[in-house]
Assembly symmetry: C2
Homo-oligomer: 243 residues x 2
DNA sequence: TTCTTCATCTCGAAA
DNA sequence: TTTCGAGGTGAAGAA
């Protein structure tokens, strides 16, 4: 990354000047950012309209667009990767359009004023390494199945059932089938419903009369989830992904 | 928004110069963006590590932080609103730290090179107006209950049950209780589980022997969801939020 | 492609 | 503060 090539910026450019920078940057696969007063229209899975205000806009080389206000972690409007970015000047105003198909969606940004425009040539070879996920919880259990209960034996992970894949499938000390559903954090009623669907599907899939135990493994459960577990005859084991 | 006050930028600044700009901007409640080669460490609900690469960093006045690579709609690392942003120079490197409590979480960004730094004074009075939401679907049904089925009479929305609030609660032509669950888009098994919980809770809550009908209203359902509906004795009505 | 589930989900509303 | 469900959820993996 050198000073000559990596960054190109404009302060309060004319619309045509900004358009040229954006067009060139999009063409060469650079990341573009704009800041200024704009309106935003979206139409696709839903539809939205945003009146004039100061926002920060990002166009990524993979086709994603982001419109950020001064508040919130989430963009106020956006377009996912895979879009075509187009930039034009209409009636003296810089206009961006990001479009995609399947589903057909359009994002249109019209700038009343462009306060800042920048293009960045990005090189990022690194992958993010995350720990503390559900996958970590699964590994913890496979390494030490007694954490679920003494005598538990895992037989498969992601075992297919008519209701979907079971996180951990195994049997208890006395040979009964056990379905384990894992959650990396405190769970509500939805996770209980999920476990119940798997247990139900397996009881039908295996031969009649086979009792299947369902065990929810998570750091903790809410009250309603606990009541639902009791009603469905399911069990809970408290365990965290790490430590 | 004037040229004098709204935007302040630096290209390839010294670490101390960048620190001063960031510190002043954070102090006055401006939005800050940085672009350059950096590493990122996160520790909190999970933990992650990201080796050196070129990224775009945003610090928002509400305490949110975003780290974006050249790919993806989602930031590779982030911190939600409510954090304290701190900026320092350590061993000649610009370092940002965004920290919050409950849960305790820390995001640390260390710049090897700052290619660009900018501060933006933002004014955004507008609210986003969205259509095509679940609320629109609800209004559509309340205006014309026959869309659910001829003779359907809504009696309440968001009616409380021991399992949570029911979207639309009413009765059919023959006076039987009907629970309606709304989804703005095609649904899977999770939505069926949700409806089933409400129906079950209401049957217990009302007097014994009261049959409660459950109707899922959505544009469409997946195969598994349809099977699950059949097994649970629940119904489906195809309806979109708009048009 | 569609389907299913995970996510540092985020966000908002209500208790 | 916690809980619960909506979301233009996004993203990944499998069928």
């Amino acid at each position: 990354m050198t000073a000559d090539s990596a960054v190109e910026t404009l302060s309060y450019p004319e619309a045509n000047t900004a358009r040229d920078l954006v067009a060139r940057a999009v063409d060469r696969g650079a990341m573009v950012t704009l800041f200024g007063r704009c309106t935003v229209e979206y139409d696709g899975r839903a539809a939205s309209s945003l009146g004039p205000g100061d926002r920060h806009v990002t166009l990524k080389p993979d086709g994603a667009s982001l419109v950020h206000t001064d508040e919130g972690q989430q963009p106020v409007n956006w377009q996912p990767p895979g879009c075509e970015h187009a930039v034009t000047v209409t009636d003296g105003a810089l206009e961006l359009c990001s479009e995609r198909s399947n589903p057909d969606e359009t994002l249109e940004i019209s700038f009343e004023t462009v306060a800042h425009a920048a293009a960045f040539d990005v090189s990022d070879p690194e992958e993010l390494a995350v720990t503390g996920t559900e996958a970590d919880l699964k590994e913890r259990i496979l390494e030490d199945p007694d954490l679920v209960e003494p005598g538990f034996t895992p037989l498969a992970t992601e075992r297919a059932t008519p209701a979907g894949a079971v996180d951990v499938y195994g049997e208890d000390e006395s040979g009964r089938t056990v379905v384990v559903e894992l959650k990396r954090r405190r769970v509500g009623p939805d996770a209980v419903g999920q476990l119940d669907r798997y247990v139900d599907a397996l009881e039908r899939d295996l031969h009649a009369g086979t009792a299947v135990r369902g065990v929810l493994v998570a750091p903790s459960v809410t009250d309603r989830a606990r009541q639902l577990l009791a009603k469905k005859g399911l069990e809970f084991v408290s365990l965290e992904p790490v430590q």
